[in-house]
Symmetry: C2
Subunit: 381 residues, 2 copies
């Protein structure tokens, strides 16, 4: 099987010609970057001003993270039950450290078929095995879910319950609770990826995270989607019993995370009113683009196509008729100057041929409607 | 076997009480940090000033490293033969990425017995095996060296030929050349750790690196010892044939290295006169402290003790009589308010009981003589 990352690279570069209206990429556009620039520059100026006092910038630091940032994370991100934090170079490193710590050869990581492509190599590195639920989690029946787990005996179940990449789906509260019960019964680790969680459109109605429901969960988070991927800061939120093992793995990986960016993030998180203001703006931006996308799909797309209604983040998952080959559609769409990501790129079972992902992250607001119209034209021709 | 890192942590914390004159630590002292602070702050101020132009700070960047820094490294650090660079989070990550890329279960990494403790876990993670040369490389005979390699069949030989941690030794030109011939004959990879190479006291008489002698070598370098470990920037210098594999491993590890620190380093390296001035100061600082240490050892230490005469870096390796137990000596020395690192902490064969490492990195200049005197008193009592 060709690696998903290399497939991604191929389709991503095809989508990146300047004349193409692209629903392909999950990277922030200039509007978002300008928002983040203010925040990050403010933090950086403060650090330059206090340069002599910030002695951590230059020397060795502890592998777990700077104490100041660890305290802030503890204050702002810990849920009930004792937990410990480890600061990492983004969520990808957090995942890589967790798999290196827990996955021995032949251990199974159970995931949804349509998933983040960055899991593949880091699990393969450990000679772990990746297995998929027999259906997407929002469609699977409780008995099938149970029999899946009983049969597959996973060491880890990886979940991205909020607006996940690539589907944008939210896992129901019922399914969260059942997975928690099963984790307790069958002693697997739940690894919860919270990468997109803060991009919720209506924070007040957000479901509790799995970590909140079940403290033994190991959670991974990052500020890449809400502040800037270039900060390269994420973290692991773990029950204390795993802390030493994970820290020693972090140390073997790269000794410690860049201190200056830890200080920058800490400054931002400590200035909550500034930060909350920023968060609101980012959320509103994505929500309004998502709303335009969903309206346009309804208006222009044939009735044989269906899609979900994401409650946060920037991905919509479109399903065409069984006959659809979204790889072929992609190449036709490119000729018509519009791009998306074919579903098979995200499929760990080399399936999902009749699906594709639309992202509103990089596209500018005023191009969404015309992009969907072009895509609908390509579909009907 | 207890992990070397955890032994290190124990002895390091015992050595760190404020009243102790410590030859234990390899971390920079305030004198060095003050030198580096000027350099780093200048770079950072420039980045704040051009913040809007430095678009790489915020968004995703390519896994290999920022083009500007890659070009600078290519200009300043490439030796004859084509080579490619990958920017990493320090040398530890560079090593970890290389072992993850090349070491499959049961593959052997051949090293000197007294060595950098950070190798152990990252090789064990791959279920690789660590084997040691039967003698230190500066003592081993050519026939024994050859038969070692023929018998052990290493996949990788890890070498730290310049002022290595912990011994401070320099590998002779003859041994470098023979290892290169053997690499060619037996097809193992030479992994050259250049961490301390720039800390040479007399740059004009420095031996060529193994990478310079033999372009198929994979070299690892870092600015942790010459600018600041807190920058977390190192790199891999590899023959082009390994480049894609190593980049894909870097991507799985943490996507890409923190851009702001890459920009800072690039600024420093681009301002060569500033940087060379800094380098000279750092080298002179260590050289003068080393000179005091060696004079003091000669003056105060019993004739049953021997040590090497390092040509760079900050470590001296002391060998006592066979009866010496440097672990016991350590605990006696601590009572006498002086500390060093017992040799067994660095030994991959759980040997080296009659040796210890003295470091001039953290100690202030005016404490070296009195520290050696105290240590000599402890030895004779």
């Amino acid at each position: 099987m060709e690696s998903l990352v290399s497939l991604w690279d191929q389709y991503s570069s095809l989508s990146s010609q300047s004349n193409i209206i692209s629903f392909s990429l999950g990277i922030p556009n200039n509007h978002i970057l300008n928002q983040s620039r203010k925040l990050v520059k403010t933090a950086l100026k403060k650090i330059v001003k206090n340069f002599r006092a910030n002695t951590e910038i230059l020397s060795y630091a502890q592998p777990q993270g700077l104490n100041s940032l660890l305290k802030t994370l503890q204050d702002q991100y810990s849920s009930k039950g004792k937990s410990g934090f480890i600061v990492t170079q983004g969520a990808q490193q957090a995942l890589s450290i967790i798999f290196q710590t827990f996955i021995k050869p032949q251990n199974i990581v159970l995931i949804e078929n349509q998933n983040y492509i960055g899991l593949q190599k880091t699990i393969n590195n450990q000679q772990g095995r990746i297995k998929c639920f027999s259906q997407p989690l929002n469609q699977i029946s409780i008995p099938t879910l149970k029999s899946n787990i009983k049969k597959i005996k996973p060491k880890i179940i990886y979940l991205n319950p909020d607006f996940s990449n690539p589907t944008g789906n939210t896992l129901t509260l019922e399914k969260r609770q059942i997975l928690v019960e099963l984790a307790d019964k069958y002693s697997f680790i739940i690894l919860e990826d919270q990468t997109y969680r803060s991009l919720v459109y209506k924070p007040k109605s957000q479901l509790p995270s799995i970590k909140q429901l079940y403290p033994p969960t190991i959670a991974v988070n990052t500020v890449s989607k809400i502040i800037a991927p270039g900060l390269r800061i994420g973290w692991i939120n773990t029950p204390p019993k795993h802390l030493d093992l994970l820290i020693s793995q972090k140390k073997a990986t790269d000794l410690f995370t860049t201190p200056i960016t830890q200080l920058m993030l800490n400054y931002i998180l400590e200035h909550q009113s500034l930060y909350q203001h920023h968060l609101k703006k980012i959320r509103r931006h994505y929500q309004s683009k998502m709303s335009i996308l969903l309206k346009s799909l309804k208006k222009y797309f044939p009735t044989t196509y269906t899609w979900n209604l994401p409650q946060g983040g920037f991905f919509v998952w479109v399903k065409g008729p069984k006959s659809l080959d979204s790889k072929k559609l992609f190449h036709q769409a490119i000729k018509n100057n519009v791009a998306f990501m074919p579903g098979f790129i995200f499929s760990y079972q080399n399936s999902s041929q009749n699906t594709f992902r639309l992202s509103i992250s990089h596209i500018s607001k005023n191009k969404i409607k015309i992009g969907v119209k072009k895509l609908a034209q390509t579909i009907s021709s």
